[in-house]
């Protein structure tokens, strides 16, 4: 059978490589064909890819949602063509997907903010810095929504800055920002995997000691698991990227065989130093 795995992510964003690995693993384990594509957040090209899959009479489609509402139409088209379409990574309840597998970015964002508040790391009047690779990309926006709902009532301010997807540029921009605002920044939330994974290099360059500024954020990369283990990052969010892809494809396969999935699968866990080793092992393939 042939399945299409369509992602709005960037092929170079580390976390997506783990999602992709899950899809490839599934293809190998089941012997089915999985055609994969990345659309760098481009809604139009994403829609085009889903429609191409429908046109190619795919046995099943698993797709992320580049923007809430953007796949309402194409999901209907897939339903009409009787092709199972499973949503993963970014939910969109408005579209008629057969099921959803993944986390919830708004909840993650709320979780990070709440963690900082509960542990007494930030208080009223404090300023939190939130670097993100691409401002305006869905994940960051939804996370910001969750964070806002916690911080605003408490009078905690924050700023989102652009870090880009280029590793060297990420470090440079974060170093510049931290150099300029070192005294002001009371905590950092890394809204993406690349920025959170760069914290160690930024701290080392600016001369900030691990733990001096509390950090929470995404944790789906080896860089971050190491940072948690070494005390640079206080807590990081695990999204089960490989499992998400694997399960989503399994659901699609199941639906293709005539068993409609009647449930969503929610993934994700916030880990600290004590449990970080587990994820470090997963990511380094141990």
């Amino acid at each position: 059978k042939t399945f299409y795995w369509i992602s709005h992510g960037t092929s170079a964003d580390p976390v997506w490589t783990y999602f992709l690995a899950g899809a490839q693993q599934w293809a190998k384990d089941t012997g089915n064909t999985v055609n994969t594509s990345f659309h760098q957040g481009n809604v139009a090209s994403h829609q085009e890819a889903v429609r191409a899959a429908i046109a190619a009479k795919a046995d099943g489609i698993v797709t992320t949602s580049p923007d809430p509402g953007s796949l309402v139409e194409v999901a209907k088209e897939a339903n009409a063509a009787k092709i199972p379409i499973i949503n993963f990574n970014t939910p969109d309840p408005k579209a008629s997907f057969n099921a959803y597998v993944g986390g919830n970015n708004v909840v993650f964002g709320r979780g990070w903010a709440q963690y900082l508040v509960d542990k007494g790391l930030v208080k009223k009047g404090d300023f939190v810095w939130m670097p993100v690779e691409i401002p305006g990309a869905t994940y960051g926006v939804q996370e910001e929504e969750g964070i806002k709902s916690v911080f605003e009532p408490l009078g905690i301010t924050y700023e989102v800055t652009e870090a880009t997807l280029d590793q060297a540029e990420v470090i440079t921009r974060m170093v510049d920002y931290l150099t300029a605002n070192r005294t002001k920044v009371k905590a950092i939330i890394g809204l993406g995997d690349l920025v959170t994974g760069s914290i160690k290099r930024v701290f080392d360059q600016v001369g900030v000691k691990p733990g001096e500024i509390p950090v929470v954020g995404w944790g789906n990369s080896l860089d971050t698991t190491q940072e948690v283990l070494n005390g640079y990052v206080n807590a990081a969010q695990w999204q089960d990227p490989q499992a998400t892809s694997y399960v989503a494809l399994s659901l699609a396969n199941m639906a293709a065989s005539g068993i409609p999935p009647g449930f969503n699968v929610i993934t994700g866990a916030l880990y600290e130093k004590d449990t970080a080793q587990l994820y470090d092992n997963i990511l380094s393939g141990k």
Partner: protein
């Protein structure tokens, strides 16, 4: 030189190369996956094609006049954000917001044009700077949040711009008609009108054109305005069709659009341009992107194919050109 048969004359046309390329390309994809020519896939390809195509049409005239515009991608992203921000915040009606988006884009084009013609900075730097400014403004006014476009579905403007209907098994978007309309209009302007003559002269030999009383600067400024306005128009169409106005959309379109125009046979340095060629160039690149997904090229190898095909096609193009030159 004059007694050549129709076929010979046809082969000598600059549009012949791109046409052969397009046919070869379609044949290859079709032979690998017959679904490639299914009505559904054709409808699909057409819908997105026209949005980049609209920009490419305007860019053809601008490049014929010897300049190019790197800021079209960010105007494409900015215009719908502006329009929906104005509308969603209840400041104006959708129609007025639409007109404001077009007008602001025209002003951006005006600024590009004035920098290039008055201050005499190369269009590369001017439009690169403008790209950053416009993209930044889009992010800033939207705070990075995409604008909701739900409410557009039933609005008459949405119907006129992107309404769809079925012709037999084909789902046709209104935007296709806009593309055809503009292709005819700009093709007419470039080849049949006085303005077209001025555009070609401006790109071919600005000094000579100026000496004959052609207002070279005004011609360039107007074309910069056209290109920005068209990018804005395309952006609005795209935002309604995809139900999303994201400040980041359109990133990287500038290079793709310029590639379309050049593959179609318009000279990179100005003086010679062809709308028919651009239409072919638009299809060559879009069909390629669609076909590659359809025949199941692995996601990560996607770029390799796009790049290799651009190189391969340009080589073929260049071989065809040379053969034709040797024959006259």
């Amino acid at each position: 030189m004059e007694n050549r048969s129709f076929i010979q004359r046809f082969i000598a046309k600059p549009e012949f190369g791109p046409l052969v390329l397009l046919i070869v390309e379609i044949a290859i994809f079709w032979s690998i996956n017959p679904d490639f020519l299914s009505p559904l896939n054709i409808s699909n390809t057409l819908s997105f094609t026209v949005e980049l195509g609209l920009i490419a049409l305007a860019m053809t005239l601008l490049m014929t006049a010897g300049e190019f515009d790197l800021s079209v991608g960010s105007v494409f992203g900015f215009a719908p954000v502006l329009m929906w921000t104005l509308f969603n915040s209840g400041i104006t009606s959708l129609e007025v917001a639409f007109l404001i988006a077009l007008a602001v884009a025209a002003l951006i084009g005006l600024a590009n044009g004035l920098f290039v013609t008055r201050i005499k900075i190369s269009s590369f730097l001017v439009t690169l700077g403008m790209l950053l400014v416009v993209r930044g403004v889009a992010l800033f006014i939207s705070d990075g949040f995409p604008q909701r476009t739900w409410s557009a579905g039933q609005h008459w403007l949405a119907h006129v711009l992107v309404g769809d209907f079925y012709v037999g098994p084909f789902r046709i978007y209104m935007s296709l008609f806009w593309f055809i309309g503009f292709a005819l209009l700009l093709g007419y302007v470039l080849t049949q009108t006085k303005a077209g003559n001025w555009i070609q002269a401006t790109g071919g030999n600005p000094g000579a054109a100026r000496a004959r009383g052609v207002n070279v600067n005004r011609t360039k400024v107007l074309l910069f305005m056209l290109s920005a306005t068209m990018a804005s128009f395309a952006g609005v169409i795209s935002s309604i069709r995809t139900s999303a106005a994201n400040p980041n959309s359109g990133a990287g379109y500038e290079l793709e659009v310029i590639a379309m125009v050049v593959i179609g046979g318009t000279a990179l340095m100005g003086g010679r341009g062809t709308i028919i060629g651009t239409v072919l160039g638009v299809f060559i690149l879009r069909v390629m992107r669609n076909g590659i997904v359809l025949i199941g090229v692995p996601g990560l190898a996607y770029n390799i194919f796009i790049g290799a095909i651009i190189l391969g096609m340009m080589t073929l193009h260049s071989v065809l050109e040379r053969r034709h030159q040797a024959g006259t």
